[in-house]
Structure formats: C-alpha cells, structure tokens
C-alpha cells in the first residue's frame, strides 16, 4: 500500500471517528478511563524527565557561557525559552508518542486480532467512534495540563541544578525567567501541544485498527506507529513554528 492510500484511509477513519456517540453515558465514562490511561498514568514519566532535562539544559547553558560580559541571568532566560518553546511541547510529546502511542496501537491491535472489534461491529456499534474518539478527547484535553506541568518542573529543575552546582545563583536564574516574558510563547506551546495530542491519539489508533495478522503484526504495528507518530510530530513542529513564530 502506498503512502497516499494510507493518508486517504486515515482521513476516512477520521470521518467515522467524528460521529455522534451512541450512548452519552458510556462515552463519558470512556473519556474518564482514557484520561486515566493516557494522561494520569503518564504524569510520573513526564514529571521525572522534565525535572532532570530542565536541570541539564540550565547546566549546559551555564557551562557554555564562559564570557564575563554575559550576565548570568541569561541562563534562566535561555532555559525558560528552550523549555517552553521546544522541550516541554515537542520533546515531551515525542516521549508520549513512545509510551502512549505503543499502548494505543497494541490495545486496539489486540482487539482487532482477537475479534473484539468485529464483536463491536456485529452489535451495531461504530467501533472507531467508540474506541478512538474518547482517546482524542482525553489527550487533547489533558495534555495541555501535562505539558504545562512539564514546563514548570523543567524550569524548577534548572533552578535546583544551578543552586546545587553553584554555577549560577537562584536569584540570577529567577531574574532570567522574568526577563522579556512573552505570553504568546505559552499560547504557541499550547497550540503545538493540542496538535501533537491529536496526532498521538489518532496515528497509533490507525495503526492498531487496521492491523492484520497475529501478535507479531501487532508488535510490528506498535513500532511503526511510534515511528510515524514521531515523524509527524517533528514535521508538524516545523510547520507550526514557521506559521506561528515567523
């Protein structure tokens, strides 16, 4: 199957996903379950990675700014910009593409190969709407909070790294964070997050839903979905940056 066919099939899938849910009560409880599975269960990894990467970004910046003419507050400024603009929305989304993407593909793929999706269809349930729409709503509504938390912890990690290492003072770092604060950068980061969240929910769902074969095919689809989700996030990141910041 060529790429154009996949793209066409992906959009046809979205057409079936965006239908009115058959039972609102069941749909709402599915959203809550997906928020827990796809969002809350990713809190730990995002918090851990954000904190330490924030620390590393601040340390690397400090170590590369050796000139006495450059103010130390620039470390906080650079760390803040790096974390808000790229690290939190893009890097965290790529981590989520790996963790959540493989989970979505393998769970839907397993449902496909064990005929659970056929069972839904035979009952008269729009399986795509039932399985994928709650995932899209869960990721799109929860990931902005997750990424915002990543931003906060990343910046905090930078401060802690500076204070512990003695490479820069906490006061300089906080001064840098407050310098030239542009609220649009947060809007930009949230817009990116929303688009990435949509990609993270739909691309792995596509790979899982159309899997053919057995457990090996599901494993292969999971790997492919992570690769394609990451590629699409990177491409979307480039175009969004060009559209929103230039």
């Amino acid at each position: 199957m060529n790429y154009l066919e996949h793209i066409g099939k992906y959009f046809i899938m979205l057409g079936r996903v965006f239908k009115k849910p058959q039972r609102t009560k069941v749909f709402y409880s599915a959203i809550l379950k997906e928020i827990e599975d796809l969002g809350v269960k990713s809190l730990g990894i995002i918090m851990f990675i954000s904190f330490f990467i924030g620390g590393v970004i601040a340390l690397q910046t400090a170590l590369n700014l050796e000139s006495p003419f450059i103010p130390k507050s620039l470390i906080g400024f650079a760390a803040k910009r790096s974390i808000i603009l790229e690290f939190a929305p893009t890097f965290c989304s790529i981590i989520l593409a790996g963790k959540v993407g493989s989970y979505i593909t393998s769970s839907i793929g397993t449902m496909r190969v064990t005929e659970q999706i056929d069972a839904l269809e035979v009952m008269g349930i729009n399986s795509l709407n039932h399985l994928v729409l709650p995932k899209i709503i869960a990721t799109v509504s929860f990931y902005p909070f997750l990424i915002s938390l990543g931003m906060f912890l990343g910046i905090l990690g930078g401060w802690v790294a500076g204070v512990l290492s003695g490479l820069f003072s906490g006061i300089d770092y906080i001064e840098g964070i407050q310098t030239d604060f542009n609220p649009f950068l947060l809007t930009y980061a949230i817009i990116k997050t929303l688009i990435f969240a949509f990609i993270i929910a739909t691309v792995p769902s596509y790979h899982g839903y159309y899997v053919k074969g057995g457990s090996i095919a599901v494993g292969r689809a999971s790997t492919q979905s992570v690769v394609w989700t990451t590629i699409l996030i990177v491409i979307a990141n480039y175009f969004l940056t060009q559209m929103l910041l230039t």
Binding site: K25, V26, A119, G124
Partner: protein, 255 residues
C-alpha cells in the same frame, strides 16, 4: 428465517464464495462444515454483515440486509447474537460488564434491571458467581459460556457461532453444543454454527451444509449424513477410523 441466494464473495482475484444458496429456519440449529479454506468463515461473516456480498443477497425474514437504511441496520444488528471463535470478550471488562455491554449501549434499562437480566442469562449458561471475574481468569469453556450469555442477552432472533468448540476438551465441547441447542429451541432462534467438530455434526446438526471450494457441495441432516454416498462428504466427515466404524455400525444396524 434467513435465506441466502446466489451468494458470491471474493477478495481481489481470489473468489471465496461462488454462488451459495441456503435457508436457515427458526428454532433449528444449522451447521456449516467444510475443510479449512472452504469459505465457512467468509460465509458466516457475510451473514452477519461484516462482509458485503459481491453478488446475490441475504434476507432476514424477507428483508435483504444490504437494502437496510442506517436505522434498520442498527435495529437488525440488535437482533443478532454472535459467538466468536476466540470468544472475543472485552478483556478489560469483567464478566458482568461484558454481558451488560449491549444492554448499556442499546436499552434505557436501569442499572438494577440490567443486572437482573445479566444474572438471568449467566444463570442460563450455568455461570453464576463469576460476575466480577475478568475473562483472563476464566477457562476456555467458561469464556465461551460468557460469550453465549453476551450473545443472547438482547434476546436475539439470530445466533451465529464461529467454531464454538475450538480449543475445548470433548466434555466441555458437548456442554457448549447442548447449551446452544437448548437456547435455540427455548428462544426459537435461527442458529447457524461454523464447525470442524464432527461430534457437533452428529449431536446437534439438524441441518448441515457442506462447503467445498466456496460452493455448497451437500446439504442434509445428521441422519442423512450417515447414509449419504456423496464422496466428498464421506471423505471429509469419515476421515477418522473411529467415525468410519461408527458409520459402518450405523449402516449395518439400519439395514
């Protein structure tokens, strides 16, 4: 009643079903038998609407399923119960949630009413006190019984089973066979079963259709299958020495 007329279905260049005609009656258990690759599963999936026929038609009580509007299709699907080969239970849901699922999706019953109905069907399939177990905690036979309970919870008019005995020991297989037959009689359901199991053929096959290379090669009852001279059926059904001896004994006795 289900009437299949000149059913054709293929995938690309491969023609799987080549003009099948068949009729299935309410309150009767009909079996589809045939070698692997003969088109049994495609036939069953065509009956339940998972495959669209290329040619021919399938009518349910006189209504052709491909002519249904979206609403009619929805209604028709609720009249169908399906037991899949691997049970196809939702593995993140308990037995109770699995059986209750169609009720939640398609009825406006209260939680208490749904629970009462679930308990009735679980009792019917002899599976009480397992409400809160997950499918992974059940044996193959128990999973099949949960699948049957889920299939009948909406009081279907048509019940389809894809190899309900696969992977089960002979004793459990007989229990499942008898259960399906009892339910068919009790609720006057039109039941169609795909099977490889010759015990099922002998025990519950009120009507048997033998498929070979996508065509109906033979049709008859379990009585007639003993007497038939049709070579392809005899080769397939009596391929084991045990069944050969059973047939010889039957023919000797009835002479």
């Amino acid at each position: 009643m289900i009437e299949v007329t000149n059913l054709h279905k293929g995938f690309g260049d491969v023609k799987v079903l080549k003009g099948i005609n068949a009729t299935f009656h309410p309150g009767k258990t009909s079996l589809i038998i045939g070698q692997s690759g003969s088109g049994k599963t495609v036939f069953l999936k065509s009956l339940i609407g998972l495959h669209e026929p290329e040619q021919g038609s399938i009518s349910f009580d006189g209504n052709i399923n491909t002519d249904f509007t979206e609403n009619q299709k929805q209604q028709w699907r609720q009249e169908i119960g399906m037991v899949f080969q691997g049970s196809a239970l939702f593995d993140s849901q308990t037995v109770e949630e699995n059986v209750m699922f169609p009720l939640k999706m398609f009825t406006s019953k209260s939680q208490e009413e749904m629970l009462a109905r679930v308990n009735v069907v679980l009792k019917r399939v002899n599976l009480e006190n397992s409400n809160h177990k997950l499918p992974a905690e059940l044996s193959g036979g128990m999973q099949k019984r949960v699948a049957i309970a889920r299939a009948i919870v909406m009081n279907p008019k048509y019940l389809f089973c894809d190899e309900p005995n696969s992977g089960l020991d002979p004793q459990t297989a007989i229990v499942i066979d008898n259960l399906i037959q009892e339910i068919t009689k009790e609720y006057k359901i039109t039941t169609v079963i795909n099977t490889h199991d010759m015990n099922s053929v002998m025990e519950i096959g009120e009507k048997i259709i033998f498929l070979k290379e996508g065509k109906k090669a033979w049709e008859g009852s379990s009585e007639e299958i003993f007497k038939t001279d049709n070579e392809v059926v005899v080769d397939f059904v009596y391929s084991s020495n045990l069944f050969k001896k059973v047939r010889e004994a039957y023919l000797k006795e009835t002479k």
